[in-house]
Amino acid sequence: MFKFLSRSQKEPVQQTPVAQKLAPTVTVPSSKTIYFLIGLLVVLILAALAGIILGTSLILRYQKQTLPPPPAPIEASPSAVPSGIKKYASDSAVLKVKEDVRTLQSEISSMDYFQTEISPPVIDSNIQIQ
């Protein structure tokens, strides 16, 4: 047992050719490569932003093209009542008709819907002595 330990301390382990191939090799990138990668990343980000902005503007432009045009402002139409009828404004027959309509409106509004005078009397319908 002591012979085993002493051998490992004294003699370095010699790797086989297969083991040499399988052993991982670590390489540290150079500063130029790092700068290149950073720059590439920035360019990619900028390109993505530009793409988003461009796409949004295209979408909005398309929507603007499909939206219906705003309605034309409504202008008050000129009075369609012919001015020639104003000569009848003081005509007695016209004034009578106007008064008849007003009287009718008054009669409609004053109609008694509840007819309280002829409502049935409140009585005890089944008078009993128990």
């Binding site: 012919p82 404004a89 008709v97 409609i108 007819q115 008078i127």
Partner: protein, 262 residues
């Protein structure tokens, strides 16, 4: 019978047309009589409740006799009140414009039949000697009372329908006046805009007609079992809605006229 009814209707119409003040006086007289009977009923009923309470408390012979006398009196007073109320309804139909004379005579028969029944009930009251007999007679009135309520509500419905018909006739007359006026205007002017007012007024009138028919169906349904649930307030609300259309129709006519006068 039909000839007699027709003659009676003609006489009634003549009375209403020739002697309106006398017809109104009949209604006022009927209302005064009804009011007096109502007041008397309340007084007699309160006296009865005192006598009943005394009998139920003391159960003496004197209290029993007093209770029987009071019981008899309140039942007779109640019958008199109902009789006066039916007379009031009759006079209301007589004095309301546009009520069909056939409806007036039909209620007249109802009134007569009710009075006959009340007379029989009064005879039973007079012939009752005990509290039990009077309780039995009073129960007969209680069984008859729902039909009396239906008679009352349908009469009120008939008054409302007739008033609506009267206003509708007035509106038709005024609409015709306006149309005649537009015909004169159209000779020299383009009245297309004004004619739209007539169309709008007529549209509202058509809506009134539909509502009026609904009101009639409510107060006088073909299915008589619906009369048990006849709600006077609901019928009145239908009448209000119907006349609202009349009012709107009149408004359109007034706006049309104002285009000329204002």
């Amino acid at each position: 019978m039909l000839l007699i009814r027709s003659l009676a209707s003609l006489v009634l119409i003549a009375l209403v047309v020739l002697f309106p003040s006398s017809v109104r006086a009949d209604y006022q007289q009927a209302f005064s009589n009804y009011s007096a009977q109502y007041s008397q009923y309340r007084t007699v009923y309160s006296q009865f409740t005192v006598a009943r309470s005394a009998y139920q408390t003391y159960r003496t012979l004197a209290a029993q006799n007093t209770a029987i006398t009071s019981f008899r009196k309140v039942l007779q007073t109640r019958n008199a009140l109902v009789s006066a109320y039916y007379d009031l309804l009759q006079e209301k139909l007589n004095t309301t414009p546009s009520v069909d004379p056939l409806d007036i005579s039909a209620f007249g028969e109802i009134n007569n039949n009710t009075k006959l029944w009340l007379k029989e009930n009064n005879d039973k009251i007079a012939g009752s000697a005990s509290i039990e007999d009077l309780n039995s007679v009073s129960s007969e009135f209680a069984q008859r009372y729902p039909q009396m309520l239906i008679d009352s509500k349908q009469t009120i419905g008939r008054v409302l329908l007739a008033q609506g018909t009267y206003l509708d006739n007035r509106l038709s007359y005024v609409t015709l006046e306006v149309k005649n006026f537009l015909t004169v205007l159209a000779q020299d002017n383009d009245v297309t805009i004004l004619e739209r007012g007539i169309l709008q007024a007529q549209t509202k009138h058509d809506l009134y007609t539909q509502k009026h028919d609904q009101e009639r169906q409510y107060f006088f349904p073909t299915d008589t079992y619906r009369l048990d649930n006849l709600d006077l307030l609901q019928g009145q609300q239908i009448a209000i809605a119907a006349n609202q259309y009349l009012s709107e129709s009149a408004n359109y006519l007034l706006e049309l006229i104002k285009n000329v006068t204002d």
